[in-house]
């Protein structure tokens, strides 16, 4: 295992043919890429596809020693994520054949999204002040923007954000969140 290695150590080792370093890079970067994918693609399966495609590209680059500054690995991965999301949006499954061949080996089990107690969450939301509850429901129902919610409430977007932050803070406390 190469768990003691820094991100910057991984690139040169992979270029030197260290397969364990490859596995460690995938184990480490996979969950981070998946979070990026969840945020930008809004779909767990699309996020999994992104993980596969990005890891393929990054591994290929590292094996051929194309990453000149090893301490910029995270930037390289992030840049590859961005380019791949753009590609995915342009044409969904251009690399499908590659994924069928290699994809299954590349995706480490991602850390699960924590499960919430739905009933407790409902109780916590119902305990919010009316204005806060309205903001929360309209924000999260379909990720309505602060501008749309502000128009309804007749207040500024900044105020909507303040109300939303306050409500989320209360909900986290009510749910016993650890963050």
């Amino acid at each position: 295992m190469n768990v003691g290695l820094s991100d910057a150590d991984l690139g040169p080792r992979i270029a030197a043919g260290d397969r364990e370093a490859e596995a460690e890079m995938c184990r480490r970067m996979g969950p981070r890429i998946r979070l990026y994918g969840l945020r930008h693609l809004r779909s767990p399966s699309a996020a999994d596809d992104l993980v596969q495609q990005v890891l393929l590209k990054v591994l290929e680059a590292l094996r051929s020693a194309r990453l000149r500054e090893p301490d910029k690995l995270f930037q390289f991965v992030l840049g590859t994520c961005r380019m791949t999301v753009l590609d995915l949006r342009r044409s969904s499954y251009r690399q499908e054949a590659l994924l069928v061949m290699f994809g299954g080996d590349l995706v480490p089990d991602p850390p699960p999204i924590p499960r919430l107690d739905d009933r407790q969450l409902a109780r916590c939301v119902q305990a919010l002040k009316e204005r806060e509850r309205s903001v929360v429901v309209m924000t999260f129902y379909d990720e309505q923007t602060a501008a749309e919610t502000a128009r309804f409430l007749g207040i500024s977007e900044a105020n909507v954000r303040v109300i939303r932050h306050r409500a989320i803070q209360q909900l986290r406390a009510c749910m016993g969140a650890t963050l």
Partner: protein, 205 residues
């Protein structure tokens, strides 16, 4: 926020605030701030774990908002959007001072009361739910209003309504002044008839 520490350990000396993570998830950050968050997340598993908690809360709230089970004041735009996205919205709009016969079906998704009212002279408005004897069962204090809206739209919990026996409820919109005195703005009576088969969730009041 830092992007300097190494990947691996699940702690973070300079964690991203939960509010910032929520804004990031909601795509509500300016692009420069989003760039900073993404660089940080690409090196920090501790903040990645925290983002997963934020996503869990956001997804829980989304499911809850779509369940129709909350009692909440909403916008006309919200109701329209819900209907456009395929939700079955049952809506009642009794004129001020009048009553309406209403029910709810098993396949309804949202239940909405549209209460026509003049709000131009009110700064704080409460929505009180009473039984026919005038006994208040619930008060939604200081509901969000817009003076020019001409109505208050309240989503009633569909879960509650589907379990409810045949009953009459009265909605009262009251303006509250600085001294705490109340002024009735409108009263609306809902004669609910249970049409869903099976026993109600509780007895008739």
């Amino acid at each position: 926020m830092t992007t300097q520490h190494l990947g691996g350990p699940n702690d973070c000396p300079n964690p991203i605030e939960a509010a910032v993570l929520m804004d990031y998830w909601l795509a509500a950050l300016p692009s420069a701030a989003e760039e900073g968050v993404e660089q940080h997340l690409m090196t920090c598993d501790g903040c990645g774990d925290r983002l997963r908690e934020v996503i869990a809360i956001a997804e829980g709230l989304r499911a809850l908002a779509r369940s129709g089970s909350l009692q909440v004041v909403i916008s006309d735009q919200f109701v329209k959007h819900a209907a456009e996205t395929g939700l079955r919205v049952r809506e009642y709009a009794p004129p001020r001072g009048e009553s309406v016969q209403c029910t709810v079906a098993a396949d309804d998704d949202l239940l909405v009361a549209r209460l026509a009212v003049g709000l131009t002279t009110a700064s704080r408005v409460d929505l009180s739910w009473c039984d026919p004897r005038g006994i208040e069962h619930q008060r939604m204090a200081d509901i969000p209003i817009r003076a020019e809206a001409g109505s208050v739209i309240c989503q009633q919990s569909i879960t509650w309504a589907k379990a409810s026996p045949t009953a009459t409820m009265i909605a009262r919109l009251v303006a509250i002044d600085d001294k705490g005195d109340e002024r009735l703005l409108g009263e609306y009576t809902f004669h609910h008839t249970r049409t869903i088969p099976g026993p109600p969730g509780w007895g008739r009041p």
